[in-house]
């Protein structure tokens, strides 16, 4: 991709949701696509996620939720990123997220929401195109 350094991505599971099949699968796929992956594990508060993104100097944050709490957690992560002036971090989400919610989440600054059945190739490509370029 002509990047000076590898894309660093923090994958996170906000809230108490335990469905991590997708997150773990993507962690492996991203690694194979040449990214550096930090997976937070379960039970993350928005504060913990943003702190990890800051510490890890993440280019991308990926949020996964299948328990219906995205409307609460995703915008809160965006808010905290803005507070820390991390506006150029690309944030994407995935899970069981109804279309109308996805539209609202995008307004809050989430770049894209990937629903069930999305191919991992599509997700990888999106991140490679949209993640910030740094030297």
């Amino acid at each position: 991709m002509g990047r000076a350094r590898k894309i660093r991505i923090v994958l996170a599971k906000p809230g108490l949701d335990g469905h991590d099949r997708g997150a773990k699968l993507l962690a492996r796929i991203f690694m194979e696509a040449g990214m550096e992956v930090i997976y937070t594990g379960l039970r993350q508060t928005p504060e913990m996620i943003v702190e990890t993104a800051l510490q890890e100097d993440a280019d991308v944050v990926g949020l996964s939720s299948l328990s219906g709490v995205h409307n609460y957690f995703f915008p809160r992560v965006m808010e905290l990123l803005r507070e820390k002036s991390m506006n150029d971090v690309l944030v994407v989400g995935g899970g069981i997220i109804p279309d109308e919610d996805a539209a609202e989440l995008k307004k809050s600054g989430i770049a894209e929401i990937f629903g069930p059945g999305t191919s991992t190739e599509e997700i990888v490509k999106f991140i490679q195109v949209h993640a910030r370029q740094r030297s």
Binding site: D17, R21, S67, V69, I96, E100, T120
Partner: protein
Amino acid sequence: MLDKDELKKMKAAKDKWGKEILQKSLVREKERKEVFTSISGTPIERLYTPLETASLDYNEEIGYPGQYPFTRGVQPTMYRGRFWTMRQYAGFGSAKESNERYRYLLNQGQTGLSVAFDLPTQAGYDSDHPLSMGEVGKVGVAIDYIGDMRVLFKGIPLDKVTTSMTINAPATVLLAMYLAVADEQGVSYDKLGGTVQNDILKEITVRGQYIYPPKQSMKLTVDLIEYCFKNVLRWNSISISGYHIREAGSTAAQEAAFTIADGIAYVQACIDRGLDVDTFAPRLSFFFNAFTNVLEETAKFRAARRCWAKVMKERFGAKDPRSMMLRFHVQTGGVTLTAQQPLNNVVRVALQAYAAALGGCQSLHTNSYDEALCLPTEQAVTVALRTQQIVAEESGATDTIDPLAGSYMVEAMTDKIEAQIEEYLQKIDALGGTLAAIEQAFIQKEIQQSAYRFQKEIESRERVYVGINKYTMKEPPPANLLKVDMKVGETEARKLREIRAQRDQARWKKALEHLRKVSLTNENVMPAVIEAVKADATIGEICNVWREIYGEYKPKQFF
């Protein structure tokens, strides 16, 4: 078993068919694929004949229903006696809303209840804990203290229904609340029927609703099992679950193998406590998934039943046949559902329910077609319940016992899956047992590898998934999705403030102190937990007692 002569004749006939008929056909037209495999990756032969099952000893390996090794089923009459229990997993919002849904389902002909708790309840947090934010009443009902349980079962006599509760790390607390409500209803414990999931090992490997480290969690698990077989005689004190293992990506054989491995760990833990195997083993129950491949799923259920019977008899020396019976609940496969063309899911669920019936389940939950989109709407729940009623009443699968027995394919597959289970059990033994295998992440890695393989097959279109990688179409966004009221959290928080202020403070304090004292010893905690819930202690307060004593589980991450 076939005798040598017959075998020889049959082999000759098959070879002849292969040369004269099959080869010609293959030359004219190739088959769709070079190798056929099930969704689990198990190779499937072109044709099964008596040759593939020639070594099977009918009396030893297949036998009769209600008799060791239970391959054909755990009861002598199976569904000719009565159908499986139709049990839809449900619960959302407040206890009052869930109570209404339960009464609706019972009126629709459902025969048992299955309580879904919200995630804060499952993780042992009160509704006003910071980690509960946004989660209260979402994927299940919010239960904070006994008052909620009282409302949840209002107007439902506990001696007339059986109740299954999907609760694990804090299982002792929720069972205690149920028992306390039974006391209030004047129902004695020996009249109570139901199940608590109480299966912490699969929380650690795949489901994620753990609180304490494995060893300390196992202590609570065994406390509950011990308390039940002494006091709540008809209660299934554990539901050893393969369902979530499969959802996390395992194959059918892995699902059965890792579930049985977990079962072995629980039985061993009870024996280590000094309990006699035949006292508690009859109340152990199981919970499996059902995917759409009817043949493989039926074989899986039969293999699991046979394998467990052998494990209990041979490994643990059980004498009571009831200790050797693998009785199980089935839920159709959540991950098999697609958000695309959601009505297609009705068909998937029907096939999966059919597999559960052919496999001899004791109870069944059929998923709603809209579950890849949202929590199920009432319409979708009704279709799901009707689906299993159609399988029971119209399909014919329930009029004879284990109808696929004797199918060359299904018997060969049953054998194969049993062999795969046994191979895994040997590997796990070699690693030092189930807990050691989990600690070394062996089980988790095997499952993740299967999930990865499946994803690759879908993306390369090696495996077709209707609506995902073939037969796709543009469709309007789905309408009429269920929305859970976001205000439940606030209402629950207000209620908690009130109860904390109003309860008998002296009784509450004494009960929690007593619980702490008991928890520092090897004594069974159940009586102290019952006393604490009766004193209006909240789930968070009770679980915190153990958080302080046991510490919290923090898994290592790998992928």
